[in-house]
Amino acid sequence: MTVAPTTEVSRLLREEFDSVLDAWFATQKREGVRRPDLFSDRESRRQLSDLLRAFSDALSRIDITEAVDIDADNWSELRMALSEITLVRTERGVAPWEMTAFMLALKQPVFEMLSKNLADRTDRLLAEAADFGRVVDALAMHINEYFIAERDEIIERQRAEMMELSTPVVQLWERVLTIPLIGTLDSMRAQEVMENLLNSIVEHSAEVVIVDITGVRVVDTQVAQHLLRTAAAVRLMGAEAIISGISPKIAQTMVELGVDVGEVTTRPSIRAALAEAFRRVGFQISRIEDTRV
């Protein structure tokens, strides 16, 4: 393990740990990012102390006059301490900007101490302040990346959930199924739709399947192709597909595109499709005789 050159910053963090901690705490208080409503002073101080301790350890091992790569292995302990505190604080409702400011608040007190202790060594003062500033900035950026990564994960999870939820096959009647499609029908969803539908046909011994596209805004050649392929697969399973919900706008557009639906049955509305489905499976809807006296 390499030993970092002794700098005034590392000496401060080691030998004047408590005063740096106090000054950091005071700066956070002044900048209003301490959140005493969420954390007691004792708790906040303990978090700062843990973080500063990890920082101090890192500086005793790593030469920060060189390029700093906060993602490298030798920063892992500090990174973990930072992630842990970020997690604890955000879970209680601390905003991302507050968390960044929380970290950046370490700069000013250390700068002040440096300028006092290195008053007669301007060159060293500038170099140390710049190096220290870079590390704190990198840590603040790490906090931001943490938030972004967390949000990306939430978005990805919701996408997956939505995908699963967005292709529900519903049994309307004995042997009649419907699948209402909403939004965009990209290749991935089309595959999902196809699978769900074919499995449901087996499960419900369905004879008619209504694919409703009322909620699909745009039917381009790819979407049309997905729909027609789905209809063909449904037919191979011994059932019939009816595509419903083709609006006048979409019908005209499909004609211009040159899409030919061939022998696939289409209906303008799900209601018309349902009537057709009943006819095919041998049911009929009739009005109840008025038996009230």
């Binding site: 991935m188 381009d220 050649t221």
Partner: protein, 135 residues
């Protein structure tokens, strides 16, 4: 390709399939801003969907730029990719011609759905398509 003077009204990078949906939404919004009629919007957005997907599937991705033009007030999009280019544009525009396992109606269909259509392609350098629609 030098079109008429244009005001930028949006830009969508086309890198994955969901970007095609983003392109449709962006063009749809730009047409709403022009007060476009519903049918015209559906037609143009469908055409945009076709060429954006072409840029993605055949051009290896690209970018879609949206512009507003004046006199007469209309919308224009420019879709640029740096893909392999199209060797025979006339053939590519013919319905039923496809290098992939698709319907082969995208390009010709897109041209029929819009009010102006320009295409420029150089083998090995990529393809640029411009389309216009009146509101």
């Amino acid at each position: 390709m030098s079109g008429p003077p244009a005001q930028p009204a949006g830009r969508v990078e086309l890198r994955q399939e969901r970007d095609v949906a983003a392109a449709r939404i962006a063009v749809s919004k730009a047409m709403d801003a022009l007060g476009a009629r519903a049918l015209r919007k559906t037609r143009f957005v469908t055409a945009v969907s076709e060429i954006a997907r072409n840029a993605l599937d055949h051009g290896g991705g690209g970018v879609l730029e949206i512009y507003r033009l004046d006199r007469p007030r209309r919308i224009m999009i420019r879709c640029i990719d740096q893909g392999p280019g199209i060797a025979d544009i006339d053939q590519a525009m013919t319905d039923g011609f496809s290098t992939a396992r698709s319907m082969g109606k995208g390009l010709g269909g897109a041209r029929r759905l819009v009010d102006a259509f320009r295409i420029e392609s150089r083998v090995g350098a990529g393809t640029t398509i411009e389309m216009e629609a009146n509101p």
